[in-house]
């Protein structure tokens, strides 16, 4: 009896054990890939793109590494996805989440081979995750009331985040910068208003936070290079010969003189517009779109600084810092809010000229100028700083903090172990496995630092047997140390997100008992 194929030609189907195997192996491979970047002594990866130019990225950021991988294994894609979400949602812990999910699956594989049903494992993992979260909640610290202490908490969190990155040499400097920048946001999580400008040259230490605002643009020729007490009009309007927007309008003339007349009228119109703009009593005009030569000349004549083609974010930020509104019509100058700043000047960073707005009215936005030896260093520095800023901005809203250095994992593991002992039935194996997976994180941190992980983790476990212990792995001295003294802090929100999404992902992969792969869509080969 011929059983017809049910699927299309290239589609494949994997069932039961084989499907589970395929997804376990895929997920673990991805986890192992990023494992070595975990912790302060984690190593970086070089990513070379296959696209034109073979551009190279050197990074330590889990999300960035995973994003650039071409993965075919569906389970591995799940892990890539959770790391991306972690990046979007809290910004840091992208490596940890993948490593934890990988470890959970590794433990699950062992349980499955010893004939425990995946559903039982899932039930155990769920209980364990809930218990671990409770354990963390019990030990959180919240210094929201005490402003000074809160600031120092933030500093410590920033330093902990940065110490695993390329910026670890100057982590204090950068942590200071990041914390300052975050405080200027006043609780908003919109990181758009922190502008990061990268300029190659100098060293990382030369990077600085600017109180004012820096726009990466040049000042038009013949216009003042320095304006004090500037009144700024931020605009988004076309400054070429304005088209008539009425549909279907066109110019149709029958003689050259008429052309000249109409051209004159156009010019007049432009002039009119410029005059209207000037009527606002400004001495600086920033436009999102291009300013053509003719109006630029008019502005120069009037002694007004005109900046063209500022990008959209730049305009928005400028609106934020100077308190002006983004204008597109100029008929009633009295009611348009202008932006103000004390001083506009052209400054030089490295070889480039930038426009610097200082003494701004509302300090909601700021600029960070990064300096460094090469583009790769700058890119990585930007990513690291971005991570730190993300974590900080989330911590400002949810001010609960935890200790770092493997401390939270040990606290959770201890509670989960207790739970395993109390639980009857097969689930307790899964709960125990969960705690082993948690311990894998400090183990990896120690391993990556070239330390004797078995010894250290055993010591740590012994210390944690006492209530209220602050011990964690101190990678710098290579021993178990008090994390509170060392000032290694982490944000609660990050840890919680790591725990929950790793469990969720592991659960998802465990539930699968069949993988059906559709035939890949045929594409015309352009090669």
């Amino acid at each position: 009896m011929p059983i017809d194929k049910i699927f299309k030609d290239d589609a494949s189907e994997e069932k039961g054990e084989r499907a589970r195997m395929a997804s376990f192996i895929g997920a673990m491979a991805v986890a192992d890939l990023v494992k070595s970047t975990l912790g302060p002594k984690g190593m970086d990866k070089i990513l070379q793109s296959t696209g034109r130019g073979h551009s190279v990225t050197v990074t330590n950021d889990g999300a960035t590494i995973l994003k650039s991988l071409h993965i075919d294994n569906p389970a591995a894609k799940v892990l890539v996805d959770i790391s991306k979400v972690q990046d979007d949602e809290v910004g840091d812990g992208t490596t940890s989440v993948v490593v934890l999910a990988g470890e959970l699956l590794r433990e699950a594989e062992k349980l499955v081979t010893s004939k425990i049903h995946p559903m039982t494992i899932i039930a155990g993992y769920r209980m364990a995750a809930e218990c671990a979260r409770e354990a963390l909640l019990k030990r959180v610290m919240d210094n929201k009331e005490n402003a000074e202490k809160f600031r120092s908490d933030l500093m410590k969190i920033a330093m902990t985040t940065l110490c695993s990155k390329i910026l670890s040499q100057d982590k204090e400097h950068f942590a200071e910068m990041a914390v300052d920048a975050i405080f200027r946001l006043k609780g908003s999580t919109n990181l758009e208003s922190i502008q990061i400008i990268k300029k190659p040259g100098g060293s990382l230490r030369d990077s600085f936070l600017d109180e004012g605002f820096i726009l990466d643009k040049k000042i038009g020729i013949g216009q003042p290079k320095r304006i004090e007490n500037a009144k700024i009009l931020v605009a988004n309007t076309a400054m070429d010969t304005d088209k008539v927007k009425i549909y279907g309008a066109r110019v149709r003339v029958d003689s050259m003189t008429k052309v000249a007349e109409i051209e004159g009228a156009e010019k007049e119109k432009m002039k009119d517009k410029v005059n209207k703009i000037l009527a606002h009593g400004i001495n600086c005009f920033v436009n999102r779109q291009l300013i053509y030569n003719f109006p630029e000349e008019l502005f120069a004549d009037a002694g007004v600084l005109a900046i063209e083609h500022a990008d959209f974010e730049g305009i928005e930020r400028l609106g934020l810092v100077t308190g002006g509104e983004i204008a597109s019509t100029f008929d009633n100058p009295e009611s348009v809010k202008l932006g103000h700043c004390k001083l506009i000047e052209e400054i030089m960073i490295g070889e480039d000229k930038l426009i610097h707005f200082s003494g701004v009215a509302m300090g909601q936005a700021c600029s960070i100028v990064l300096r460094g030896a090469s583009h790769h260093v700058l890119d990585e520095a930007e990513r690291s700083l971005h991570d730190a800023l993300c974590v900080l901005s989330q911590t400002v809203n949810d001010s609960r903090v935890l200790l770092g250095g493997g401390w939270p994992e040990m606290v959770m593991a201890k509670e989960v172990d207790e739970l395993a002992r109390k639980t009857a039935g097969k689930k307790s194996h899964a709960i125990e496995a969960f705690s082993r997976a948690l311990v894998a994180i400090p183990t990896t941190i120690a391993d990556n630092a070239g330390l004797d992980s078995a010894e250290l983790v055993a010591q740590l476990r012994a210390k944690h047997h006492n209530e209220g212990c602050n011990a964690g792995i101190d990678v710098i001295s290579g021993a178990v140390g008090d994390m509170e003294e060392r000032g290694i802090y982490e944000a609660f929100k990050v840890k919680q997100a790591v725990l929950l999404s790793a469990t969720e992902a592991a659960e998802m992969i465990l539930r699968v008992d069949e993988i059906i792969t559709c035939a890949p869509r045929r594409r015309e080969d352009r090669m």
Binding site: M1, I6, V244, A249, R250, I326, C390, D513
Partner: protein, 535 residues
């Protein structure tokens, strides 16, 4: 057959065969079809029930879906076989009609086919088998009607509804918070339900998902959520007591449909046109302002100038809102969709107590909440979750739960789940079989046996001994003559589904049996498969 002779004895070809076509005939065709149908059912069999497993599907573009929903699995599976496609259709029609039980219906059809094969081996003609199935299904459906119970609930006491939804959700990955999700689904359905007419328009429930946070953050919003932000970054982010103008015309100079040209040949004309253009914008904004709108929602884009004018006149606006969302907003706020500025009147404005913009996560993601609407007939379920696949799966699960709640409002009858209804039907069909003289009797008995396969699969997936468990439950039902005993999938310790609160809707179950029988009948009636051979 492919070759026939006309009255003069000349041969002519009816069907070109050989290398272009393959052909299966008679019993071979039926067997091949049955095998294909069974293969599809086998894939889904392990997804049945609360302990059912998920399937991972990789689409043609490499996108991954992880799901437990029968309809979704079959939809994404790249099937080529015609009979397999029929099975896909089957689960889809169950999805459209009822929304839940999409896996069950396919498993049921698979079992029926398997039994049919055995009857064919005995030499019973396929048509007789099909007719026997038809009779049996009638008996089963009637029996279901008899054992069903009326469920009493109203707007204040929706606990029974929640419990039924929980049964649906317990087989999905979201069963971690099935209670809260079931409550959300029931509240959403009750909010939009027309209890007088016993009808629910599920279009009024919008299910929106955003990656991030966790499942527990999923919420029901009595209003509309739009994935858009204010058109100008400096517009107010929060509006209380909003009067909303809902527009489907762009803030741009008008574009007549007929082709036309406006010729400019003198300076004066140029000037007037310019003036006119400015006036247009001004009038448009003024018109909105005049009727008292405090928020403008527009289906189209704005010109920069219009945007600024709006901002200037302190009139927040949202642009590029999709057509469906626009309709929902209109329904929720009691406003009218206005296609032209001239037709704006104060009565046509929608009203909402609160409109606010909320940002999520570290990236620039903002959404617009429109709440406390004048007419709370439209609601949004906003799902959060750890990753994209999770959200997609939650959306499907919520859809199932919504459908179940809707079906209960339409028809209050329920039957007991956990295989209890199938076992009861199987007993009834078996008893009825003896009354039929003729060959159909065998087919009816086969039907009864096929019904048993659903509880059997449930037991198997839950790690119980399938045959032992089934026979124990069956004898219990027969002895006590109570149709509430089912398979104890969650290891609670009782077989009484009333105690476990496992309910399913009557129409859902009936539809399952009817649809499965129909498809099986159709497959059995095919005796010739002609297909183009491989390229």
């Amino acid at each position: 057959m492919a070759l026939a002779f006309d009255e003069f004895g000349r041969p002519f070809i009816i069907l070109r065969e050989q290398d272009q076509k393959t052909r299966l005939r008679g019993i071979d065709a039926q067997k091949a079809n049955i095998a294909a149908g069974k293969a599809v059912a086998r894939i889904l069999r392990s997804s049945l029930g609360p302990k059912g497993m998920d399937k991972m599907l990789q689409g043609p573009d490499g996108d991954v879906t992880i799901t437990n929903d029968g309809a979704a699995i079959l939809e994404q599976m790249d099937v080529d076989n015609q009979i397999a496609k029929l099975m896909v259709e089957l689960s889809r029609s169950q999805d459209y009609e009822i929304g839940d039980g999409t896996t069950g219906v396919v498993v049921m059809a698979g079992a029926l086919l398997e039994q049919a094969e055995r009857q064919l081996d005995r030499g019973i003609h396929p048509i007789r088998v099909a007719e026997g199935y038809e009779m049996a299904s009638r008996v089963a459906v009637e029996h279901l009607e008899r054992i069903s119970q009326k469920f009493e609930f109203d707007v204040d006491n929706f606990e029974p509804l929640v419990k039924t939804c929980m049964t649906t959700l317990s087989s999905k990955i979201v069963n971690r918070c099935k209670r809260s999700l079931a409550e959300i689904a029931v509240k959403a359905v009750l909010a939009v339900a027309d209890l007088e007419r016993r009808d629910v328009n599920l279009d009024l429930i919008k299910v929106e998902g955003k990656v991030g946070g966790n499942l527990e953050d999923t919420e029901l919003i009595y209003g509309i959520l739009v994935d858009k932000d204010m058109s100008h970054p400096q517009m107010p982010k929060q509006i209380e007591d909003a009067h909303i103008a809902i527009l489907t015309c762009p803030f741009e100079p008008p574009k007549p449909k007929t082709k036309h040209k406006v010729d400019i040949d003198t300076v004066e004309k140029f000037e007037t046109l310019r003036k006119q253009e400015q006036q247009y914008f001004d009038e448009m904004v003024q018109k909105c302002k005049d009727v008292g709108a405090t928020l403008v929602i527009c289906q189209w884009g704005f010109d920069d100038e219009a945007n600024h004018l709006l901002m200037h006149r302190n009139l927040p606006a949202v642009r590029w809102v999709g057509g469906v969302e626009l309709e929902l907003i209109a329904i929720a706020t009691g406003g009218r969709i206005v296609p032209r500025f001239q037709e704006l009147t104060p009565e046509k404005l929608g009203k909402a107590g609160m409109v606010r913009e909320k940002s999520f996560g570290t990236t620039k993601e903002r959404m617009l909440y429109i709440e406390h609407c004048a007419n709370s007939k439209a609601v949004t379920i906003f799902i959060r979750g750890g990753n994209k696949m999770m959200i997609e799966e939650t959306k499907r699960s919520i859809h199932d739960a919504l459908c179940v709640a809707r079906n209960l409002i339409r028809n209050k009858s329920i039957v007991y789940g956990g295989g209890a209804a199938e076992i009861a039907c199987s007993l009834a069909v078996d008893a009825a079989a003896d009354k039929y003289p003729g060959v159909e009797q065998y087919a009816i008995r086969a039907f009864a046996e096929a019904l048993d396969s659903v509880p059997m699969a449930l037991a198997e997936n839950s790690g119980l001994q399938p045959i032992e468990t089934l026979s124990a439950v069956k004898s219990q039902q027969l002895k006590e003559n109570i149709p509430f005993y089912g398979i104890d999938c969650n290891d609670v310790g009782t077989n009484d589904m009333r105690e476990q609160n496992v309910f399913e809707t009557l129409i859902g179950k009936q539809q399952q049996i009817l649809l499965a029988t129909q498809v099986v009948k159709m497959i059995l009636k095919i005796d010739d498969v002609i297909s183009n051979s491989e390229y």
